[in-house]
């Protein structure tokens, strides 16, 4: 087989995969709508600097104004455009969601793989620690952790913490939220990954690889991690929406993103204070969070169906 043949067969494989994906999306209208919505939110966040209004520009003459042609979603208590703040808030939410998920999943994969692969005493120690993390309600844990981070980095810091504190200040508290969600959100992932690695590590192809003289790291890199990818993807579909929700919760409670940086959580917090007089301030960010989470859950479900070995095996047999 020549290099050209290989390249074409690969391309055919990719095209075939995309076609199947497209067919799958077309059969699931809810999935199509959700994907479109998430794409819109993403573009909205990306294009926030080009919106006609500045998210930070105050206008005391037009405070708490209702929706109008000029300010589509009205203005907040300082006269700032709600739509513009929603866009910047989307940036914050999505950044937090993606970055903290990367941290959390990386830790989860590392911990789960080590526990399962090492086994025995090490596995026991790690998993009992994970169990004790699990026993805490994660919201409570995140609040405690975020408050701790804010206390350490929010004020004057010296020594080793000084550069971290500077980064924290520059990010408007975003760094604290990232650390909190990253360092608390890995627990479920580590359990899923551990279970998968545990079932794979005695697979016959792993034994064959070991007999061929492979080191542990070779086996983990070449066999265990690639075959754990579906599980990791499924973990991501749990972790992302959870991170968005927790970020909003932390910001709502004042231990998340610092004002004046808008986030959906802080917008809900201020909106809730004037719920009866100016409901539009609460409705907009609440809907934004609610719909985004709904869309993420629909996509997550679809992804799980797509990756389910039983489902995809029967589909593979049919084609």
């Amino acid at each position: 087989m020549t290099a050209l043949d290989v390249a074409t067969s690969d391309r055919i494989g990719v095209v075939h995969g995309l076609k199947r994906l497209w067919a799958f999306v077309r059969r699931n209208p809810a999935l199509a709508v959700s994907l479109a919505f998430l794409l819109a939110v993403f573009l909205f966040a990306l294009l926030s600097p080009f919106l006609p209004h500045d998210a930070y520009r105050q206008n005391v003459l037009a405070r708490n104004a209702g929706p109008s042609l000029k300010n589509w979603l009205g203005t907040d208590e300082l006269g700032r455009d709600v739509l513009a703040r929603l866009a910047v808030g989307a940036r914050v939410s999505l950044t937090v969601a993606v970055a903290s998920t990367v941290i959390a999943v990386a830790i989860g994969v590392l911990v789960g793989t080590i526990a399962a692969y090492a086994g025995g005493f090490i596995d026991n120690v790690i998993m009992r620690f994970v169990d004790s993390m699990y026993a805490f309600p994660d919201t409570l844990f995140a609040i405690l952790f975020a408050a701790l981070v804010k206390g350490q980095l929010g004020g004057e810091a010296s020594g080793l913490l000084a550069p971290l504190a500077e980064a924290y200040r520059l990010s408007g508290g975003l760094l604290g939220v990232l650390l909190t969600l990253g360092l608390t959100g890995w627990v479920t992932t580590s359990r899923l990954v551990r279970a998968q690695v545990l079932s794979l590590k005695h697979a016959e192809y792993v034994l064959a690889c070991r007999l061929a003289g492979a080191s542990d790291s070779f086996i983990i890199r070449k066999h265990l991690l690639p075959n754990t990818m579906p599980v990791i993807l499924i973990a991501v579909t749990f972790v992302v929406p959870n991170a968005i929700l927790l970020e909003a919760g932390l910001s709502f409670l004042g231990v998340g993103v610092d004002p004046p940086t808008p986030s959906w959580g802080t917008m809900i917090a201020t909106g809730a204070q004037s719920l009866q007089s100016y409901p539009h301030l609460l409705v907009a960010p609440t809907l934004a969070i609610g719909l985004t989470l709904l869309a993420l859950n629909v996509v997550g479900d679809a992804l799980r169906d797509l990756l389910d070995p039983a489902v995809s095996a029967s589909r593979g047999a049919a084609t």
Binding site: M1, Y205, L207, A208, C209, R210, A212, G213, H223, G316
Partner: protein
């Protein structure tokens, strides 16, 4: 065949808590021979195979391969020492990584050995050709192949770094009968070409008779009879072996002794509670015919032999005469 053994196991035990999966096995594998290990499901064949390859750490005992003691080696030195010991696995679906291309699967041992890419591709093409698959299959994924083809891929992988010994762990049990024959022929052919030594784990006595030079019969974690293949099939000396042979539906050439079917009653005892005395006494038909001698419960028989034929039975010498006594074979007319 009196060379120094290629693989030598001495008093090998593998325990999982109370379960004694392998319970004191000693055997020698001579270079160039095929040693078959037969026995019922759950008798410890697979565990023994994995222990011989040091994929399962023995609890007690020693294994030496090509003159090197394998137990107690560090992971790094073990890898080097058993490089020429490879395995072919039972399940051709579980033994190939579904995410790797066939070329990568077969070439993986070469990659680990540090062979450069171009040389590796050439070697992989040769290996695929050797096992009867085209070199152009290298870019495909395992799911595109049938069970027999997958088993050929597994064999190609085992051959990649030119092993001396291949442990075949029931390589046929997942295959159709017609495919089994092809794989048997391939294994025999490869053995002749490369002077390979096989440890062939199986429960298929017909295949064992065709392939093996010697046969070890395993019961509850221990080898109860070990003999040259024809000696074992013509004149078994352990009552368990007799029962196994009698269970084979049609086996041309077994006219010698075992004519009627001897049904063993009950399940084999749990390997967590091995019976005292002879481990086979709970199901032994010979013990009943000899009117329950006390020895069977009192002491565990040692594997003792006539020449190169070993059997762990107190009454190994009586097996043949009891089999021949017509009064004791009630069903013989019907079965013959």
């Amino acid at each position: 065949m009196t060379d120094t053994p290629l693989l030598q196991a001495r008093d090998l035990h593998v325990r999982f808590n109370a379960v004694r999966a392998v319970d004191g096995v000693s055997l020698d594998v001579q270079p160039g021979e095929t040693l078959a290990i037969v026995g019922e499901s759950g008798c410890g064949k697979t565990t023994l195979g994995r222990a011989l390859a040091m994929l399962q750490k023995p609890s007690i005992g020693s294994i030496s391969f090509a003159g090197t003691e394998l137990t107690g080696l560090s992971a790094r030195r073990l890898r080097a020492a058993r490089r020429q010991l490879q395995m072919v696995f039972q399940d051709p679906y579980a033994s190939l990584d579904p995410r790797q291309r066939v070329g990568d699967i077969v070439g993986e041992p070469l990659l680990i050995a540090g062979m450069a890419k171009a040389a590796r591709q050439k070697k992989v093409a040769e290996l695929l050709d050797m096992v009867g698959l085209g070199a152009d299959m290298a870019m495909r994924f395992p799911r595109e192949f049938s069970g027999g083809q997958r088993q050929r891929i597994g064999i190609a992988r085992a051959l990649a770094i030119e092993p001396k010994l291949i442990i075949c762990d029931e390589p046929l049990s997942a295959l159709d009968v017609s495919i089994q024959a092809q794989i048997v022929n391939l294994l025999i052919d490869l053995q002749r070409r490369f002077r390979l030594t096989y440890v062939f784990i199986s429960h298929d006595l017909a295949v064992v008779r065709q392939m093996a030079s010697r046969v070890a019969v395993m019961y509850l974690g221990r080898i109860v009879e070990l003999a040259e293949t024809e000696a074992l099939f013509q004149a078994p000396r352990h009552p368990y072996t007799v029962a196994l042979l009698s269970a084979v539906p049609t086996l041309a050439g077994t006219e010698g002794l075992v004519k009627e079917e001897i049904l063993l009653t009950g399940d084999p005892p749990s390997p967590a509670r091995v019976p005292l005395g002879c481990r086979f006494h709970t199901r032994c038909w010979l013990r009943k015919k000899l009117d329950d001698p006390s020895q069977c419960l009192a002491s565990e028989p040692k594997a003792e032999g006539q020449g190169r034929h070993f059997a762990a039975c107190h009454f190994a010498d009586k097996v043949a005469s009891v089999m021949r006594a017509p009064s004791l074979l009630r069903k013989s007319q019907g079965a013959a």
